[in-house]
């Protein structure tokens, strides 16, 4: 076995130990692996160790037995896997398609967000022949999602950190806040009125939930929403440029750092703007970071706030080190889908690849999902046609890297997953933690939920 492959497999297997075991020994064993020269024997010892730890009652996971079975299946796959994988460095995980359902009819999914307070609660925003609608879902049982309530909305749509407020867009085109403390009875609290600034393309709550950033064509507004019933405008930032031709939004086009001191926004170019929002009333742009070619989107801060990740249109993930936020330094770049795959998927209506990024809660890994839609259907004709759309298959590609050391990032996994959509493109979103992907079709309202290990 090649040393690189053995090293990668070793790290994957180290992540397969039971959680309680990893909490106690995970870090130090990774440290040993860093110094060790992994061989086939290393892989075998880790596979056997992980299996026996799973069988050990002291480390048995308290979670549902299904999760344990999956993990056991993963370990077994990792033992059998090397025989197959000698022929390629492409390591695929198993996939479990969990759910696929219709969120409405006529029109499509324009935005989605998970509640950070309860990651079984999903909000989908849809556009239709009338106006936008938001729907709250309980996806605890992905195969049988429960529709909780619908209310006036549309893209963008985000949950406040406490899960009790949703910021969406009102029919007037202005951002609106909804009280969803009772998920079955959403109630509108306020509309955030500003001068006409064109279409709203992004919203983000600060981690404390006190500040809401709303992004327009050329401006970003910072609101004090400590009292959601009485939002106060704190600051208007002149944003460089809005994203071009984006019919769909990803949750990370605008993002707060975990400490709430920084705001990152896409510029519509191959750049990321960083704003110092520690004092929101006096927020200023502190850096404009160039990235790979094509506009950077799907921004995500690492849980410690030391890294900022974004994906370019061309599928390159850029990791920026924020040791000095005023001078972000490129720490690493990683490729997701290839230029050829993207070129083959672009449809004439202007749909292109869609991306989403999510760091693991400990910041050890970064997961990216790229959605490539089939080129056959024109997005606009798909939206305007009333006739039922023929089914198409979009492909989601998921990638995971070990980013514990940003200077030596290693890819842990890559896999692809077919998603049936009825036309247009589709929008991927990773649930907090990066282990569940939800894909919404821009036409036909279909939402597919699938799990990554």
């Amino acid at each position: 076995m090649r040393p690189g492959l053995a090293g990668r497999l070793s790290r994957v297997l180290a992540g397969c130990y039971p959680r309680r075991w990893r909490e106690r020994y995970g870090e130090e064993m990774l440290d040993v692996l860093d110094q060790h020269h992994p061989t086939t024997r290393t892989v075998a010892s880790l596979a056997a160790g992980a299996l026996s730890a799973h069988l050990d009652p002291a480390y048995r996971m308290q979670g549902p037995s299904l999760a344990r079975l999956r993990r056991a299946a993963l370990i077994s796959a990792a033992i059998v896997g090397p025989l197959v994988l000698v022929f390629g460095s492409f390591l695929g995980y198993g996939i479990w398609q969990n759910g696929h359902w219709q969120v409405g009819s006529g029109g499509g999914v324009t935005a989605m967000a998970f509640s950070s307070a309860d990651q079984h609660i999903l909000v989908t925003a849809t556009s239709g022949s009338q106006d936008g609608l938001d729907t709250l879902w309980d996806v605890a049982s992905p195969a049988r999602p429960r529709r909780l309530a619908s209310f006036e909305g549309g893209a963008p749509t985000v949950f406040a950190p406490d899960g009790r407020t949703v910021a969406t867009v009102a029919f007037s085109g202005q951002p609106a806040l909804w009280n969803v403390a009772d998920l079955r009875k959403p109630a509108r609290i306020a509309t955030l009125r500003t001068v006409d600034s064109g279409p709203l393309w992004g919203e983000a709550f600060s981690p404390g939930g006190r500040i809401l950033a709303t992004a327009y064509y050329d401006r970003i507004f910072l609101w004090n929403v400590t009292n959601p019933a009485r939002p106060r405008l704190l600051r208007t930032l002149a944003a460089p440029v809005a994203p071009p031709w984006r019919a769909l939004f990803t949750q990370g086009d605008i993002a707060f750092s975990p400490d709430g001191h920084l705001l990152a926004s896409t510029t519509g170019h191959n750049q990321v703007a960083l704003w110092n929002v520690a004092d929101p009333a006096h927020a200023t742009r502190i850096a404009t970071v160039p990235g790979e070619s094509g506009f950077i989107n799907a921004l995500a801060f690492s849980p410690r706030g030391n890294l900022l990740a974004g994906v370019s249109y061309g599928g390159t993930v850029t990791l920026l080190s924020l040791a000095n936020p005023a001078r972000p330094a490129r720490a690493a770049t990683m490729q997701t889908v290839t230029a050829r795959q993207i070129a083959a998927s672009i449809c004439s209506g202007g749909c292109g690849p869609m991306y989403t990024l999510e760091f693991a809660p400990g910041g050890q890994t970064l997961t990216a999902v790229a959605d490539l839609s089939p080129p056959a259907q024109d997005a606009f004709s798909a939206l305007s046609a009333n006739a039922p759309q023929p089914s198409q298959v979009a492909r989601n590609y998921a990638f995971r890297w070990n980013v514990a050391n940003p200077r030596s990032v290693s890819r842990m996994a890559a896999l692809s997953h077919a998603v049936t959509i009825s036309g247009g493109s589709s929008l991927p979103l990773l649930a907090p933690g990066g282990h569940t992907v939800v894909t919404g079709a821009s036409s036909g309202f279909a939402v597919t939920l699938w799990a990554l290990p």
Partner: protein, 109 residues
Amino acid sequence: MHGKFDDLGRFADPSLLILTSLAGGPKHGYAIMTDVAAFSAIRLEPGTLYGALSRLERRGWVRPLAAAGRRRPYEITAAGQEILAGQVTTMQQIVRVARLRTATAWGTR
């Protein structure tokens, strides 16, 4: 007492090597691996090392010390030293018998 040690199953041999290594002073994971390789020419793999270490710790034969960064040193406990001494006695007995019998078989005595 030896029964207790044998409960370690496939981790019995690595455990003996680890206890022997720690008998010379506290060491972290990678230091144990290099030390064992130096005195026995046996290369412990990380999965085996931590499989054995976790069992030794649970039995109270080794004790983790404060971690320095990601590295956590382990030291042998009094109970661990007792177990090790017991195992060494058994092994000495085995060695003595083996020496005698192989010498007889080879006719050098």
